[in-house]
């Protein structure tokens, strides 16, 4: 029972992180039908920016809360700029090419960014300042660390903010309109390039937050940390129905839970395999995901 509860706590933490990353995949796929392979690298870049900024702010003597908040915001801005640059350089010129070309370009960018991180930050793990957030409390036998509380609350705040943005604001409506019909959205005066850029920026900011929190949670980051979570988050997006924002959130949570429970009750060595098997099973048995996908043009 305690074990179960503990797994639940861990699953929610991990699932929230996957949800944040999955949103970037789903939004980008929804709007330009591209599996943005470079998204995992944006997440990793976020993790690194977190280390860099928090270490620096910490060295300046700011209290942890301020370090964390400022680093989060600055890094999110950084990743947004990074993703927009990637989009402008590697995807936008290919807007009218075959989807295979864009996919390969995305793959190239992923390799490029990953190795760029390696070249600038080194091959080895980079540690977060350890004394940032420590301790925790116990609920019915399950240990909840303060870090987990922070992760879950930041995740919830970001998810709520995104929901507000996408479903309530004028820009959010324009994003959805562009995803549904680019020609028509141009005919009502929406500049689709700008909307696409914005979509990349938002997705990147969320992935960045996820990267920082994972870095804080595990205490370190690595240049290739984006690869496996990237695939898992994409699985989450597919599970929830690609293009579907609510679906990505639920899918992320589910994948996180499944991973934690599979690791706890079946085998921790094979935990990564489960996410992939779910991805394959979902695509095979219900290609539109549990929530139905929001993509009109699904041809390749």
């Amino acid at each position: 029972m305690e074990f179960l509860l503990q797994q639940l706590v861990n699953g929610i933490t991990l699932g929230g992180v996957y949800a944040l990353v999955a949103l970037g995949y789903t939004m980008v796929y929804g709007i330009i039908q591209l599996i943005n392979f470079a998204h995992g690298e944006i997440y990793a870049a976020g993790g690194y920016m977190g280390v860099i900024l928090i270490s620096w702010l910490f060295a300046q003597g700011y209290p942890p809360a301020i370090c964390l908040g400022a680093a989060l915001l600055l890094a999110m801005g950084y990743c947004a700029l990074l993703a927009m640059a990637v989009e402008k350089v590697a995807y936008k010129p290919l807007r009218h090419s075959s989807r295979l070309s864009v996919l390969l370009s995305a793959l190239g960018m992923s390799i490029f960014l990953q190795n760029g991180l390696m070249l600038t930050q080194g091959v080895y793990d980079r540690a977060y300042p350890g004394e940032m957030v420590q301790g925790g409390f116990e609920v019915a036998g399950a240990v909840v660390s303060y870090m987990q509380v922070i992760i879950v609350s930041v995740t919830i705040v970001l998810l709520l903010a995104l929901n507000l943005l996408v479903f309530k604001t004028r820009i959010g409506k324009a994003m959805r309109a562009t995803a549904q019909d680019k020609t028509m959205s141009a005919l009502v005066g929406i500049n689709s390039s700008r909307i696409i850029s914005l979509t990349f920026a938002i997705g990147a900011a969320l992935a960045c937050a996820a990267g920082i929190m994972v870095g804080l949670y595990y205490g370190s980051v690595r240049y290739d940390m984006g690869f496996v979570p990237g695939i898992k988050a994409f699985s989450a997006a597919v599970l929830g129905g690609i293009g579907n924002i609510t679906g990505a959130m639920i899918g992320g949570l589910l994948i996180g839970m499944i991973e934690v429970f599979a690791a706890g009750y079946i085998s921790s060595e094979y935990k990564d395999v489960f996410a992939f098997i779910i991805l394959i099973a979902v695509l095979y048995f219900m290609p539109t995901g549990i929530m139905g996908e929001n993509v009109d043009d699904t041809r390749v």
Partner: protein, 403 residues
Amino acid sequence: MTIRASKLWLGYGVAMAWFFVLLWPLLGIKAEGLEFAESISIWLKVAVAAAILLGLHQLKQGGLFRFLEKPTQAASAAADALAARVPRWLALCAVAACALAFPMLTERYAHDVAISVLVYIILGLGLNVVVGLAGLLDLGYIAFFGVGAYTYALLSVHFELSFWLCLPIAACFSAIAGCIIGYPTLRMRGDYLAIVTLGFGEIVRIVINNWMSLTNGPNGVLGIKSPGAYWFKDGSFEHIWLNSLEQLYYIILGLAMLTIVAVYRLNYSRIGRAFEAVREDQTAAELMGVNTLRLKLLAYAMGAVFGGIAGTFFAARMKFVSPESFTFIESAMVLAMVVLGGMGSIPGVILGSLALIALPEVFRGFEMYRMFVFGGVMAVMMIFRPKGLWPAKRMGARSEERD
């Protein structure tokens, strides 16, 4: 300056400012304090290079190089004429002769590199069947290489089976693995296929990594035998191990040539044309009575066979296999070769593997920049030369190149 030109330079300014904002935090923010020297020096180099490129582009637009156009056109026309006059078989013979004489002309180190190049050529050609010919993006191709390598490794270590016997066995195993992976995935749409094959590739690696009792996990399998042969000596046949680099070179050269011939024949066979039909327009192909699912499965299986063969040789040559050799990066590398060379093009793939495996050996000091550069080149190629360095001739406009 025209409005267009000033807009271009304005764009340049914005891009460079943007680039600095992205570069500096990575290099310049340290716990010890802020630092600018390194990032500014890198930034300056990039900015100057970009400015030169942009300037050249402008000059070209302005027609300043028009005086060069005629001579270059004439030169390329002359080269084409010359190439047309030399018969194809002669050119092929020359290449084959060079390949055969290679070990006599070069050193051990070069043999080593050449063997790697040839292994990658087989891999590239195998993947080319899947990606170039059938148009299915496979990001987990290296799994078949792994299946082939481990099949031989285990059979050799536990049962002492010979390399030559294991070659077809490993090819079969890989083909079966190809079908197992292919069957559930091939109904999916193209870009999902990419991510699913990637997932499968990872599954294979993770399984190899964790199935300790069979594969010895991350420690790998040691003591794999080299290929054997019987050699006539002193009036009787004697068994010897072909384990010198030269001998291995000739084995892989033979395998690579077989692969080239097989793929060439496939390209121009009925099946090859059916592949093309499926790639160009699946619906139309189906209407014409092509069983697309079976065909795709066949493409997968054939691609896998070549992967398995390359893997078998790899295990025999290294005498050791471990899961580390079968990571996603390897799949990406083979794919990069195919893309760089030209999808569907045999000479393209050969060129691609030379460029990706041999070139970095020439620039050894820049080893660590290799993947960085490849990634960038892959994206740039898609923009400026999507058909590769040596495009396939028969490839018409792809159906997906609509809009």
